[in-house]
Amino acid sequence: MRTTARLFTGTALTVAAIGAFAAPAAYAGNEDWNSNSESSYSNSGSHESLEIFPSSASPGETVTVNTLACGKHGHGVGDANSLGAGEFQLNPSTHKEVVVGQFEVPEHVKAGSYGISVACDNGKTARGELMVKHRGPSGHVQTGVGGSVGPDTAQITAGAAVLAAAAVGGVWLLRRRASGARSH
């Protein structure tokens, strides 16, 4: 739950940050702000960059990606087949300049680096790398319910046997005493 909250906070911050530096271009009435922003993004080859958060994730975790490549009100299709997570949709976020999509890291992915790509409706593409790491176990294990906790039946049985023997002995002694008293 906390992780999810952190994830959303992080995404919100990322989106806010993108909005912050994209805004001046937009206010300037520059429709071509996308190309402006390229200088702010590291861009490899013909691909635009893809923001991946978190950049390093473990199996089962949800990964959020966003990019400016698809443009205002744009849409895109993400490709996470490299790690077996299939395709996912990217839709405009609350900050309309970016499109955002999510996918989950499958449970049985080996640790390593995986390429994630996005194909936009406008024909542009974006690429990024996701590091998959396996977290080790943490915390204590749940390996008992207390079924072994209980009375020591062997000791109780032994005690009961000794008590029974004492009772038999006592009865025998009393009887002998009684018969001895009669014989006098």
């Binding site: 204590h140 294990v141 319910v145 079924g147 005690g159």
Partner: protein, 217 residues
């Protein structure tokens, strides 16, 4: 012997019987390791000889000769909260190992877990807390080798203060951890802690024939 002496004898026997019944009725809990079995210096301080690590190979069976443990092993994953999964409680003699981690005998820290008990009574690692330093833990592996570990320490931790790094961090030699529940029991909260046996690899031997047969079968 006079009747009086016999009477006293019977009274004494009755007392012994009552004491046995009373004492036996108190709850018996799994053995808890003594402070003497804890680390003197910590798991990263090595003063003794260690065998060279083996290549990775999944474990098949685990034995602790000292306490007559002889258990098959299954692969374990992680639960939602990051804790190690455990074998099904219904199988009292099943031990497990963290399948995405180090295999026993390989370089690093192999994590093994099993139940101390289930609803019906004691389970595979009931006696873990009775181990002592120097006892052996043997793990048969798929590659036909048996990794032999010696126990370095047995410690008990409260669930609320479980030392993740001490227990789970990767060692720079071949080490093993065997974990089960323990450290006090209450009807309301169950077991209050975990007993952890720490060991390191001291030797390798071929799998005993009977063990190899059961592993194949």
């Amino acid at each position: 012997m006079s009747n009086r002496t016999k009477g006293w004898g019977i009274a004494a026997a009755a007392c012994v019987g009552l004491w046995l019944v009373h004492n036996g009725s108190a709850n018996v809990t799994p053995p808890v390791p003594s402070a003497a079995q804890a680390f003197a210096a910590g798991p990263s301080v090595h003063t003794d000889a260690a065998a060279d690590p083996l290549p990775p190979s999944p474990p098949v069976r685990l034995r602790i000769p000292e306490t007559d443990v002889d258990a098959p092993m299954m692969r374990l994953g992680l639960a939602e909260n990051g804790a190690l999964d455990v074998p099904p409680a219904s199988d009292r003699n099943m031990a497990g190992w963290y399948g995405d981690g180090t295999t026993p005998g390989a370089k690093g820290t192999a994590i093994v877990a099993g139940h101390v008990d289930n609803a019906d009574g004691p389970a595979v690692f009931y006696t873990l807390g009775a181990l002592k330093k120097g006892h052996r833990i043997e793990v048969d592996r798929e590659d036909g080798r048996t990794a032999v570990f010696t126990v370095d320490a047995i410690e008990v931790y409260d669930n609320k203060n479980f030392p993740d790094r001490k227990v789970y961090d990767e060692a720079d030699r071949a080490e093993i951890r065997v974990i089960t529940c323990g450290g006090g029991f209450s009807k309301k909260n169950g077991y209050q802690g975990n007993v952890v046996a720490f060991g390191h690899l001291i030797g390798v031997k071929p799998v005993a024939r009977s063990a190899a047969k059961s592993a194949a079968g």
